[in-house]
Amino acid sequence: MEIESAPAGAMPGIKLSSNANELLRSVDQIIEKHHGEASNLLQIMLDIQSENNWLSKQALARVSEKLSVPMTRIQHIATFYKAFSLVPKGRHKVHICVGTACHVRGATRILDTVEEATGIKPGETDLDLKFSLETVNCLGCCALGPVMEVDGKVHGKMSPVKASKALKTYE
């Protein structure tokens, strides 16, 4: 598995620690918050992910060193759980629910439309780093299905036309 490190400055809108010290400081803070305990590894990685949008190699190396957990285990975890990303994410995170309730109400068509509008497939980020697209298996808003979530805001009762309109409102 290759872990890319993003060139600093090339990431418009992403909270990327432009200098490595700042990144390491924030990682250290998160580790401290979790009392530096290896059993909190998952929670620590979740916090780093939500702070930085992704898990960079430097950040993971720091975690490995501070918690004395081998890098292989960290990488296993980072690839096992869906919440983690080893590449930088776009400014807007689009989640299309493909849970059962949304599926029977036509989620596939929403996904097709969004793929077309953004030019990316689930798991990808576009070249401008504007959108990252993911599918999710249920957001718990099934009554409003099909559902699309952008940056944590749920858009319910989607149709292909409504979905592509909604995406246009994001810069």
């Binding site: 290896a38 059993s39 909190n40 590894l41 998952l42 929670q43 990685m45 979740l46 285990r73 296993h76 975890i77 096992f80 759980y81 869906k82 919440a83 983690f84 493909v98 849970g99 059962t100 309730a101 599926h103 029977v104 109400r105 068509r109 097709d112 439309t113 077309e116 999710v136 298996n137 249920c138 957001l139 718990g140 808003c141 099934c142 009554a143 409003l144 299905g145 559902v147 944590g152 805001k153 749920v154 858009h155 319910g156 149709s159 292909p160 036309v161």
Partner: protein, 643 residues
């Protein structure tokens, strides 16, 4: 207010809260659950606060954001007390009128009340709405009465009375016996009796034990745990403390899925508040019982809901299942006895201790006691959460509560039990819901997802969908699950694409059998269920796909064509304008034609063609008629217009 040192102090604090509250003073409750927030509840809450302030009513009228009352599709839901007037689909712009009419003049704004589509009659109170009328809401009912951020609201409704009773008047063994006597079976999946699981942990030798809430809710299409976690976190916390007391655990865990941020926040807050009042922590209510709780977020893996995987994940590792040579209740988290129960199971415990096991067993069937919350979703008129006594029939749930199938479509099947469950066809609609009844029908209770499907749903596609989901979510440890599901997915996908072959069904059956027999954990063992149940009840659909290259539900993209009926097309051009593939040719007064080579079968034309024309038709298995020759494409004006 300081720590409560005794059960009596809790009681007098409760009386004090109640005495400060006037049950007759007006209160506006707005659902602040995830579904309603998605429909704009936050703006509605803000609008109420502003309007009440502006009209100088702040001193007399209170506003609160509550938990989910279940009728999510009709959200944002607003209930005005003390009259209990229920308004649906309220928008911020409706707020001034509600304040002027209902709060000041005590008049009902009819337009915002539920309208029965059958009779046209309006229902003013929540209890008059057919969706709620046949339900029996014992676990969910408090959601709408509680601001989940305020422990006082929970206390006012009798919260933590069960804990006070247990710690003050019952031995730990008596608490366990009461739970055993209630016969409550786990609400998260297999329906294992909770009391027996607890007893196993209690009797285990290792002195350090744990109790855990499974709030992973991995089932797509189910959201009852979310509603409880967000709406009434204290009820789950109280259940967990009672469980800790009964089995002798001093540490409890919440394992919550990361996709539910509001739930995580509300539980953290509930824990803090309970600690503040001495309902959690050391020497709870002066009883000498110590108990602490830790919240752990999941990271988006379905298999982590499985008990052994969840505990491995709690230990900070990749959440992979392990063989259960020794049960988790004897050797679980950090190899210590650990009781894992579902959110809804825990939420029932305070009710059982408070009201007694006999009260609990008075509801339900012989083998399934109490109520169960279902999430009724899919192709159904009233979508949302419903809580019904065990033993109610599927027909009652789907038709009396759910209002049947919308758009005059025919019911086809209801899928229960999540990815491990199955599809139940129409001729079994009178089945009573209960753990054993559903299993007998080839499905499962699961966590309570009920996904209703109508005639437009293809059952082969449904089977493909679930296998795809589980192929993705398999941890990959064992071959029959990892490779077998992948093969099943490949074959099913081929069938839905019209590439099915003779022998495919038999091969699928063989793969299914192997996965059931040889997988390590229940994910793999139960994965073939959706396939097996659809094959059992809808075999002719599989055969039509394979033999006739036809999708009877007209759903599988590769097997259908869209065609414009020349006799019906009015040349209105709606479809042409909306077609994303520029596949439609036409003009004013010209019969429209679809270029089958360009068409991506997105279905937009079918959807947008005005219902009074309905000129776009779907074909499957039949050849697409040749387009109308150019010279016959002009639509002649109606005689009426001439004269």
């Amino acid at each position: 207010m300081a720590r409560l040192e005794t059960p009596e102090a809790l009681e007098s604090f409760r009386q004090e809260i109640l005495s400060r509250r006037d049950p007759d003073s007006p209160c506006v409750s707005i659902c602040a659950g995830a579904g309603c927030v998605a429909s704009g509840a936050d703006e509605v809450i803000a609008a109420f606060e502003k309007e009440i302030e502006a009209k100088g009513l702040s001193a007399t009228v209170s506003t609160k954001g509550t938990g989910c009352p279940g009728f999510c599709e009709q959200g944002p839901v607003v209930v005005i007390y003390p009259e209990e007037i229920c308004y649906l689909q309220v928008q911020a712009k409706d707020v001034p009128e509600i304040v002027a009419q209902t709060i000041k003049n005590k008049q009902v704004v009819e337009l915002l009340c539920f309208k029965d589509p059958a009779t046209g009659k309006r229902a003013v109170k929540e209890s008059d709405i057919p969706f709620y009328r046949s339900q029996q809401r014992t676990v969910l009912c408090n959601n709408i009465k509680i601001d989940s951020k305020r422990i006082e609201d929970y206390l006012a409704l009798g919260g933590y009375a069960a804990l006070a009773k247990a710690l003050g008047q019952m031995t730990d063994l008596e608490v366990l016996e009461e739970v055993k006597k209630s016969n409550i079976r786990g609400r998260g999946g297999a329906g294992f009796p909770a009391g027996r699981k607890w007893e196993g942990s209690r009797n285990a030798k290792e002195p350090i034990k744990y109790v855990i809430v499974n709030a992973d809710e991995g089932d797509p299409g189910a959201f009852m745990d979310r509603a409880l976690l967000e709406g009434n976190p204290h009820s789950i916390l109280e259940g967990l403390i009672l469980g800790g007391y009964a089995v002798g655990a001093h540490e409890g865990y919440f394992y919550v899925r990361q996709e539910y941020p509001l739930a995580v926040k509300n539980i953290h807050l509930a824990i803090q508040q309970a600690e503040h009042y001495g309902l959690l922590g050391e020497n709870i209510l002066g009883s000498g019982f110590d108990f602490k709780v830790i919240v752990h977020q999941g990271a988006g893996a379905f298999v982590c809901g499985e008990s052994t995987a969840l505990m491995t994940s709690l230990e900070g590792k990749a959440g992979e299942p392990r063989p259960k040579y020794v049960r988790s209740n004897v050797k679980g988290l950090w190899e210590r006895p650990s009781v894992l129960n579902n959110v809804e199971t825990w939420a029932n415990i305070p009710l059982i201790i408070d009201k007694g096991a006999d009260w609990f067993t008075s509801v339900g069937t012989d083998s399934s006691k109490g109520t169960k919350i279902f999430s009724l979703v899919g192709k159904i008129t009233n979508t949302g959460l419903v809580e019904v006594p065990m033993g109610m029939t599927l027909r009652e749930i789907i038709y009396d509560i759910g209002g049947g199938i919308p758009n005059n479509k025919k019911f086809k099947a209801v899928q229960t039990g999540g990815p491990s469950g199955g599809c139940i066809p129409e001729h079994l609609l009178d089945l009573q819901v209960g753990f054993d009844e559903l299993t007998k029908a080839g499905s499962m209770m699961g966590s309570g997802g009920m996904i209703v499907m109508d005639e437009d749903t293809c059952m082969v596609d449904v089977a493909r969908y679930f296998i795809a989901f589980l192929t993705d979510e398999s941890c990959g440890k064992c071959v029959p699950c990892r490779e077998g599901l992948r093969q099943m997915h490949r074959i099913l996908t081929n069938i839905t694409k019209g590439k099915g072959k003779q022998g495919d069904i038999e091969l699928l059956e063989e793969l299914a059998e192997t996965a059931v027999e040889a997988s390590l954990c229940a994910l793999g063992k139960s994965a073939p269920n959706p396939f097996l149940s659809t094959l059992k009840y809808f075999r002719e659909e599989y055969e039509a796909h394979i033999n006739d290259k036809k999708c009877p539900a007209l759903a599988c993209k590769e097997l259908i064509n869209f065609y414009i009926d020349p006799d019906r097309c009015t040349g209105c051009g709606t479809c042409r304008k909306q077609c994303p593939a520029d596949a439609i040719n036409g003009d004013k007064n010209l019969i429209h034609i679809i270029d089958q080579d360009k068409c991506t079968r997105c279905g937009t034309c079918f959807e947008v063609c005005p219902p009074k024309f309905s000129s776009v038709v779907k074909l499957s298995g039949d050849p697409v008629p040749d387009p109308v020759p150019e010279e016959e494409r002009t639509i002649r004006k109606k005689i009426k217009e001439k004269g």
